[in-house]
């Protein structure tokens, strides 16, 4: 378990409506600091600048999808260590297993409950080394 509480979250998502709901959930329910990135191609710079505790990636996005972005992060020394959680509408267990195998620390299925989302992330955070 990391020595500090989960606070700074960077969320990469192209759907503005979902961006708004996640932001509201994490800020209002979770009392966290949230940076939302709508364009995945800008994500690497944004994450580098924001220095989050944890990154949340949507899977299916135009131009650059979640897994590709994740692989890009692995190529940056300063981003490599940041834990990544995927949030996806893909329902099959095989897809979720694939993400975990890639090195994600957790997955959240869409639709999620905004009431429970911060709790879910904190659970994942607690389990990190």
């Amino acid at each position: 378990m990391p020595d500090r509480a989960l606070n700074r979250i960077c969320y990469v998502e192209d759907d503005e409506d979902i961006q708004r709901i996640v932001r509201m959930s994490l800020e209002r329910v979770g009392k966290m600091t949230v940076e939302v990135v709508g364009d995945p191609t800008m994500a690497i710079d944004a994450i580098g600048a924001f220095k989050p505790d944890l990154v949340m990636l949507d899977w299916m996005m135009p131009k650059l999808d979640g897994p590709a972005l994740f692989r890009l992060m692995q190529q940056h020394a300063e981003l490599k260590a940041i834990p990544v959680v995927f949030i996806t509408a893909k329902a099959s267990q095989r897809d979720l297993d694939e993400l975990m195998a890639m090195g994600a620390v957790g997955t959240v299925s869409k639709p999620f409950s905004p009431k429970d989302l911060p709790g879910q992330l904190r659970e994942i955070w607690k389990k990190l080394p």
């Binding site: 979902i18 709901i21 509201m24 959930s25 329910v29 509408a89 893909k90 905004p114 009431k115």
Partner: protein, 597 residues
Amino acid sequence: MNHSSTAEGAALAVSEKSLASGITGRTDPRAVLAARVEQLYGQMWLGILTTFAIGAIATFELWELRLRELVLFWWGLVLLITAASAGLLYAYRSRRDKEADPEQWLRWLGIAALAAGANWGFAGAVFFPSHTDEQQVFLAFLLTGMTAAGIPVYAASWPIFALYAAGALAPFTYVLATFGNRLFTEIALLVPMFYAINVAIAYRLTQVFHSGYRLRHAYGRLTRDYSVLNQRLERQLVELDEARRQVEASGRKLQLFAERAPIAVLELDANGAITEVNHAAELLFGYAGGELIGRHFSFLVRPEHHDEFKARWKRIAESHASEAGVIRNTRRDGIDLLCEWTVTPLVNREGTIIAVVAQGRDITAQREAERIKKEFTSTLSHELRTPLTSIIGSLQLVNTGIVGDVPPDVSELTVVAERNSQRLLDLINDLLDIEKMESGKLTMAPEVLAIDEVVREAMVLNKAFGERFKVNFEMQSGLPGSEVTADRKRLLQVMTNLLSNAAKFSPEGGAVEIALRENGSNVRVAVQDRGPGIPESFRSRIFGRFAQADSTATRQKGGTGLGLAICKRLVELMHGKIGFEARAGGGTTFWFELPRS
């Protein structure tokens, strides 16, 4: 050369020996005897006529003299013996079974012959001493002639001739010997020699007859055997011809099947060269049959698959077993085909491959359709869930008061909106599950689970749902320690379905009772409600898709009508079974069973 001629000689010797033993083997001694008896009886009328005629002449010749009564008596004996013999001949001729009891007939004939012989002997003994010289010569001539005449008549059985001749000559010899005349005494010494020679001749004749009859009999048997053999051969020839015709007919049928089959059929030789193709194969590859025949099959295989093809061909050649698999082929116009092949070698009795039959089907379109369907389902899932995420998320934020209070009227409406959004999501999830089941893509992650704990967890998870219908879940009888091998998430899904169904159909304030018990090698989980029960008409299709007893219930209570169909499939995938029964005192019990670990 030498060696082979020796072998041939040996074979010939063996066949001669076997021929001899064949004759012996084919001879039935009783049948031969019967044939000899028939021969004897066949000549009997000659003896009877001769006896009667010579007897009459002798009677006439001896009549003038003193011993008239004696001559008359003798003539009476002649008549009696000829009559008795004629009677015997008649009896023999009219017997029913021609081959039965030849020994008995032979004995009767022996008696008749002895009587006839003795009759002549009587004549010689009685009339010889008292007659004139001329008459004595007549009598001697008569006796000698009659004895000699017995040889051909009784030739088929020398003992009968011996009896006959002894009867005729013995009394005469005695009279000659005791006559007191030196010449007569010398003749009396000659008569036994004459007798012995005659019997010897009869013996030889009998032997000739015997072997003649044996041969004739064996030949008859052989002929019969050969004709039976011939008939059998003929029958077998007819059968063979029939079999050949059947084979030809089924061959034509097979050829027709191959020609008209919608799948491509190619016949290859043991090296892989094409020897025959059907119409579907011509259509599939775009070549005429004549262009394909003689070429190696690998020219129809994409070059990058040649190694794989060679490996598979080698496997068939070694194992002689048929191979099935998908190979990328190439058409005349260069277009790629994905084909599913079954390749079967035809092996003869010596274990040599005589031909290889390859049956192929173009699955390019099928694979493409499968890919599109999968993509469609995946897209549908994503595209439907994304807006639902926003709708449900927004409504939840409003309904949980996170974004501040809303007027009660509005709150009531947003709760309705959230509930129905949730229903839509459930429907999508259920449809996706059904789709996965149908395409066989629903996979299980089995693990050993404490069933009691999973059931209790499901009760906790669905507690809030139960409360909406003012229904409590109560554990009636647990089963701590019992374990099953199942997919935890899917087991929870089954329980959620059963619990939510029970809650929906229970009366307000009621309880849904959950009972676990062991049932043989299974664990049975029962969910019991006090609802209205399941209408008789609905029972048979309750586990079908979109099954709901009353469509108005859908609107009132929610649910997609897919839940039980999914439960049934899931339980079956976990090697269990599911069912329901009416509950005594009203309500329904739904149960499922899983094998104990």
